[in-house]
């Protein structure tokens, strides 16, 4: 008697495919390092990063106790950078999760059911997409309190329409595929068809966009902080750049160091998105 | 025909992809005014042969051997500039997909006129006038009005006619048609094949017809080349080849065709299957068909593969087992 082997868990195959992509592995390692810094901040720099600890304008390398130097008020740049990581990652990932959830739900319903439901939801998407997103963001944050949950909510509110549009168009084309027709013919319910048949096929562009959205959210938070609309009680990469703006000629490192952190993180997130897309697609993964 | 050079003579053509040989040591000839059909299933190398002749192979493919003598030159040795003057003017090609072969943003008249202005140097008005004549030649009704239509306004059959008009615009000596009717309905297919044959006769073109359909081969070809996994396995005139195939693969294809059941239904006759798939040919040192062949003997799988041997009536076959025993008479 032949024994039927149990289906190989899918995530192992995806993981193997992902591990074969060097750009993805490097990006993921970098992001894990950044996350570790964010989690370890209270241990690495137990003191408040807003506190003055040394003389102002120490350049990086001048004093081994402050490897990245100090700012105009004598605050440790390294401590600010590490604590800022917490804010950036928290805002980035929370806003992305909120925005993707909202976008997936609305986009999937609009694209799958079509008709009047679709027309109404498309109008809703358009209402949110008409004003320039950053202007809308500033207005939302200005109306509410400039605190972290408000910033997260506001960024999610301006970014979900992007996801909803992608999901809607994916669902519209996928719902016409023969395998969806076959699922209907086999008597599957709407929920099962949406979640199990169509959604996995619609995810790759969403995953790519989601990782870009984390990056966008980090940039938006930085921009808000740069403009002084961030949470005033917390150090973030944006507020550090904003603080160093006046001193760009004399102490450029104050803006450049957090700027570099943003660039690297955003780049890593983009590369990760590409790598995930390739790994999640069985056909592309098999061709590697 | 001794002494006269045919219009096209392919000799030992080999096309390779990294890790795979698409066409191996292929030789065939096309005379002026003759229809030669290359028949085979997907993966047989028939389309790669066509693309190699046009020197339009995918970037990763290489022509690693052989020659193709056409009008006194070796097409495989021409540089890109000389080849560009051959394409469209002396050798034209039409493809399977009439829906995507035309540019959707230009009128069909403009697309026919384009090739005339490029190769014949005609002016705008002259090219348009000639385009209308060509649309009439491919039997598009009311050509003076249709000339300003866009591709999306035409049916699949009409688009394929426009493709044919573009192909014959400069009076090519050779027309390569790669599955020209596969995407078309059967009544439209009959119209397009009829049209191609009429043009072949009127313009005394050579026609290299690439198809998977044995019925088309039998109805329209003067000579048939059967390809399997990159090799020519059999060649001959269609009547004899389809009546009494010498290669087990040709015989298998005929047996697998429901048409061959001669009006018998599934209750009376079972279709003869060719077991397995063409992918079994990969890495086979001997005859590529041996893994699927009922008649295979041990020596079939030993290198080198059986050579093509000439038989009576201008037939050739690369199988010592079946052809040698004289089994199918």
């Amino acid at each position: 008697m032949t024994t039927v082997p149990a289906p190989r868990p899918r995530r192992w195959r995806v993981l193997r495919a992902f591990l074969r992509n060097p750009a993805g592995v490097v990006s993921l390692s970098f992001l894990i390092l950044v996350a570790a810094l964010a989690l370890g901040a209270p241990h690495l720099y137990p003191d408040d990063p807003m506190e003055m600890v040394a003389r102002p304008f120490l350049w990086p390398g001048q004093n081994p106790a402050f490897p990245l130097g100090t700012d105009s008020l004598g605050r440790d740049v390294a401590a600010g950078l590490v604590w800022g990581t917490r804010v950036s990652l928290l805002v980035g990932f929370s806003a992305m999760i909120l925005g993707v959830t909202l976008g997936l739900a609305i986009g999937a319903v609009a694209g799958y059911f079509g008709g009047r439901v679709d027309a109404a939801l498309v109008k809703l998407i358009e209402i949110f997409q008409t004003p320039p997103s950053f202007v809308l963001l500033i207005v939302l944050v200005a109306i509410a309190q400039p605190a972290i949950p408000t910033v997260i909510g506001a960024i999610a509110l301006v970014t979900w329409p992007t996801i909803a549009r992608i999901v809607r168009s994916e669902f519209r084309s996928l719902r016409e595929k023969d395998f969806v027709m076959a699922a209907r013919g086999l008597g599957y319910g709407h929920a099962r068809i949406i979640l199990s048949e169509i959604l996995p096929n619609a995810l790759p562009p969403v995953i790519v966009t989601a990782s870009v959205l984390v990056a966008t959210a980090i940039l938006m938070e930085s921009a808000l902080s740069f403009l002084g609309l961030g949470d005033p009680n917390l150090v973030s990469w944006g507020s550090m750049i904003g603080g160093g703006r006046e001193l760009l000629r004399t102490a450029w490192y104050l803006s450049a160091i957090p700027g570099f952190a943003i660039v690297l993180t955003v780049l890593a997130l983009n590369l990760l998105g590409d790598a995930l897309n390739d790994a999640l697609n069985p056909r592309v993964a098999a061709e590697r | 025909m001794v002494g006269t050079e045919p219009l096209l003579r392919i000799d030992g053509l080999t096309v390779a992809f990294p890790g795979e040989t698409a066409v191996r040591d292929l030789s065939l000839a096309v005379e002026a005014g003759q229809t030669v059909a290359i028949v085979g299933e997907s993966g047989s190398g028939k389309s790669m042969t066509a693309l190699a002749l046009m020197r339009l192979l995918p970037r990763s493919a290489r022509i690693t051997g052989g020659s193709a003598r056409f009008a006194g030159r070796d097409l495989m040795a021409l540089d890109e500039g000389a080849m560009r003057r051959v394409r469209g003017r002396e050798i034209a090609m039409i493809f399977q997909e009439p829906m995507t072969s035309l540019n959707p943003v230009h009128t069909i008249g403009a697309q026919v006129a384009e090739v005339l202005r490029l190769h014949e140097g005609l002016g705008r008005a002259a090219a348009r006038k000639r385009a209308i004549e060509l649309l009439d030649l491919v039997r598009i009704a009311d050509p003076a009005r249709r000339v300003d239509d866009y591709p999306h306004q035409l049916s699949g059959g009409m688009r394929q006619r426009v493709m044919i008009a573009i192909a014959v615009a400069c009076g090519p000596k050779l027309l390569i048609a790669d599955e020209p009717t596969t995407a078309l309905d059967v009544t439209i297919q009959a119209q397009v094949l009829d049209l191609l044959d009429r043009l072949r006769r009127d313009l005394s073109m050579g026609l290299l017809l690439i198809t998977h359909d044995l019925g088309i081969v039998g109805q329209w070809a003067d000579r048939v080349v059967v390809m399997y996994a990159g090799r020519k396995v059999e060649e001959g005139p269609p009547g004899a080849l389809l009546e009494a195939p010498l290669h087990p693969y040709t015989a298998g294809l005929l047996g697998a065709s429901p048409r061959k059941a001669e009006g018998l239904g599934y209750r009376e006759a079972r279709l003869a299957e060719i077991p397995g798939s063409i992918s079994s040919a990969r890495g086979e040192a001997g005859c590529a068909f041996a893994p699927r062949c009922r008649h295979a003997i041990a020596s079939c799988r030993a290198a080198p593969p059986p050579p093509l041997v000439a038989h009576a009536d201008g037939r050739m076959v690369a199988c010592p087992v079946l052809a040698g025993s004289g089994a199918p008479s």
Partner: protein
């Protein structure tokens, strides 16, 4: 009583350019264990007809009776038990399988949705289905892209068999396959029919395949059935000019370099000709054909034709 009866079935779509009459009043009967062939050119409505009877295309008018029950009158819940008994095999072996699911998951899902057996029983059933269609046992853990076109079509067949249907709608099941693979799949369908007593509605544009595979054949043109007869009768004595042209258009070595039997294109189903729909392309058309649509008539035993001049055509 027939297993399936269609009466006056119509599927109309509202489009920007007017109503599209995809299926326009079709009567059709399929007996238990019978294979009915449906032939016609693209755009004639044959695929839409197949989908409509499975509830996958909206029925505008008419009845779909399965075992005597009109399915068009039923709600989704009441229809569910009938869904199991009618299944479909699709043309495109690449598009009809979800690329993100393993073969095991594809075959297990219908069993799970319909609550057929516990996990162990379902696993055994999936293994049996895979064996039944001639795939290796390890197929269960693999993905569709790892298989050739012919093997994927076997997977599609296994999925259609999962719920033990009485009727399978085969929509061009071998059109995308190479000839050598076609015969394998057709033989498999014949075996399954014999072993399981299946009835097929076999939709195809390939007359050679239909002639071999069908007990009875219906010819469809622009949303209507123009002729229906037992397969052997239809080829021996076609009585509709369109059927004659279709048969004559099949490439045949016996007809060397023969002129095309039929001129012109299929008209758009949005712009159906008056009278007989075929009259603009018909060599037998008269004034009567231009004005009056011919009703279907039964001429010989089981041979129906919708043509004013069927007797003339048959004698020509």
């Amino acid at each position: 009583m027939s297993l399936l009866e269609l009466r006056g079935l119509a599927v109309h779509y509202a489009t920007a350019r007017g109503t599209l009459h995809a299926v326009d009043g079709v009567d059709l009967d399929i007996a238990r264990g019978e294979t009915v062939g449906l032939v016609g050119e693209s755009g004639c409505g044959k695929s839409t007809l197949g989908k409509a009877l499975l509830g996958l295309a909206p029925v505008t008018a008419g009845a779909v009776r399965f075992d005597g029950v009109d399915l068009t009158a039923l709600g989704a819940r009441a229809r569910a038990p009938f869904r199991r008994r009618m299944q479909m095999i699709f043309q495109d072996p690449f598009g009809s399988l979800n690329p993100r699911h393993t073969i095991g998951a594809i075959l297990d899902a219908p069993l799970k949705v319909h609550g057929l057996g516990d996990r162990a029983a379902r696993r055994a059933r999936v293994a049996a289905l895979i064996a039944q269609v001639g795939l290796p046992p390890d197929a269960v853990a693999r993905y569709p892209h790892e298989f050739s076109g012919g093997q994927r079509q076997r997977i599609g067949i296994a999925r259609a068999l999962a719920l033990e249907p009485d009727l399978i709608v085969c929509d061009e099941p071998v059109s995308a396959l190479d000839l050598s693979i076609q015969a394998q799949i057709l033989n498999l369908l014949v075996d399954l029919k014999r072993d399981l007593g299946l009835a097929y509605l076999f939709i195809s544009h390939d007359l050679g395949v239909v002639r071999y595979f069908a007990d009875r054949v219906l010819v469809m043109y622009l949303g209507r059935i123009v002729e229906s007869a037992p397969a052997a009768t239809l080829w021996r004595r076609p009585m509709h000019p369109y059927t004659r042209a279709l048969i004559a258009a099949v490439p045949d070595p016996a007809r060397r370099r023969q002129a095309a039997p039929l001129a012109g294109d299929l008209p758009s189903p949005q712009d159906v000709p008056t009278g007989c729909r075929f009259h603009p392309r018909c060599p037998f058309a008269t004034e009567l054909c231009r004005t009056t649509e011919p009703p279907p008539r039964t001429l010989d035993d089981g041979h129906d034709v919708a043509c004013h001049h069927a007797e003339t055509v048959a004698g020509a």
